[in-house]
Symmetry: C2
Subunit: 224 residues, 2 copies
């Protein structure tokens, strides 16, 4: 095994270091955040740092970097208090990646990448039509992270739009069937292959594979 | 498309809601956090909320919930200021899931699940031997999230251990070759299939697929 110790970590180029450290956390979610600015111009930006924060209230967080291409997203959210999150799937992953280019505030990432805005009455932020699982959020908090000047933005989910057939009986959404992609490192995109769902783990009880619908035990899945 | 509005979101059972909301953020990383307590007893717990926070300094964050099975992890980190993060791969994903069972403080998840502790001189926390990409961190900050009583724990990476062959020329780690798994929802585990790495996106420049080594453009990959 390769061992990177404190000295080795301190002596690498910034680019090598960025690639290496970005690989550590494992697979990341791939999502587009949609917002509008004060001039009602749409903005769309890819984020790989979106994470679940809690189910009740339904809170989702993400990290923004100072002076990054995500600065327009943050400015817009502060202004409108509203944003959408749209899962990226394998039909438009390259267009999604292209939104990370440093466009100016008066260029629109929808036009530049060919993705289609989708509007819902009462929600002052554009969705991505091509996304099969998307939701609107209201800004709830922005927490500064003093260690490196990033900020954690927290939104509360107000409306969810999802392809019907992906929603299972117990509320689980089969995002693999939506062809949702994952990111590794800074620039690698992946589709997925399910191993299985697993039953809730308890001490001294052998866990079992469960069906996609959350039913336990699933004899069918043993043969997959 | 199914539309869950404010009323629908408020009127679901807690279980359904937990499954649904946990599916929204997309694929999540699967990692085991290793710690020791004041009695030098090992603890190991699976987390799906670990995220990249910054490359320089190398910071990784994760979310802990009050009264959850992760409480021992947090107590131990506060005590020792040290923890390890170990990527879960497809050789031990079921053992990793089993660590989420509510064991008591004097039961050891390593023994209960059959995973092997691995020690490194000077690092006061156990690694998981079976993990092919793992690293040690020193506690840097704990940020309370008042909206739901969770906390964000931030560590700085001090030592990385990774299978040699997965580390590419530009620092990218091919975590797919390590069989690292991803999680969706609360309990679904997935392996991955790479679409491609993509070149750094610039306005008005057509992006290209790049090779695993980060070389651009890769004609070979066009045929994959």
């Amino acid at each position: 095994m390769q061992h990177f110790n404190h000295d080795k970590l301190g002596n690498m180029t910034a680019r090598y270091r960025a690639q290496l450290i970005n690989s550590l956390s494992g697979f990341k979610s791939a999502n587009l955040i949609g917002t509008v600015n004060a001039q009602n111009k749409n903005n769309l930006a890819i984020f790989s740092s979106i994470f679940h924060l809690g189910a009740s209230p339904a809170l989702v967080g993400f990290i923004t970097r100072p002076n990054s291409v995500s600065r327009h997203t943050l400015d817009n959210i502060i202004h409108t208090k509203k944003f959408t999150i749209n899962q990226v799937n394998s039909c438009f992953w390259q267009a999604a990646h292209q939104t990370s280019a440093r466009y100016s505030a008066d260029e629109c990432e929808f036009q530049e990448t060919g993705l289609s805005p989708y509007y819902v009455d009462g929600i002052n932020a554009p969705f991505v039509k091509e996304s099969r699982l998307k939701y609107a959020l209201t800004l709830r908090d922005i927490i500064p992270i003093e260690l490196n000047g990033t900020q954690m933005v927290i939104g509360e989910v107000t409306d969810i739009f999802c392809d019907d057939e992906a929603i299972k009986e117990d509320g689980y959404i089969d995002i693999e069937s939506l062809n949702t992609v994952a990111i590794s490192g800074l620039d690698s995109y992946h589709t997925s292959q399910r191993l299985s769902r697993l039953s809730y783990a308890k001490p001294s009880v052998e866990q079992s594979k469960i069906s996609l619908d959350g039913k336990s035990p699933s004899k069918d899945l043993d043969h997959v």
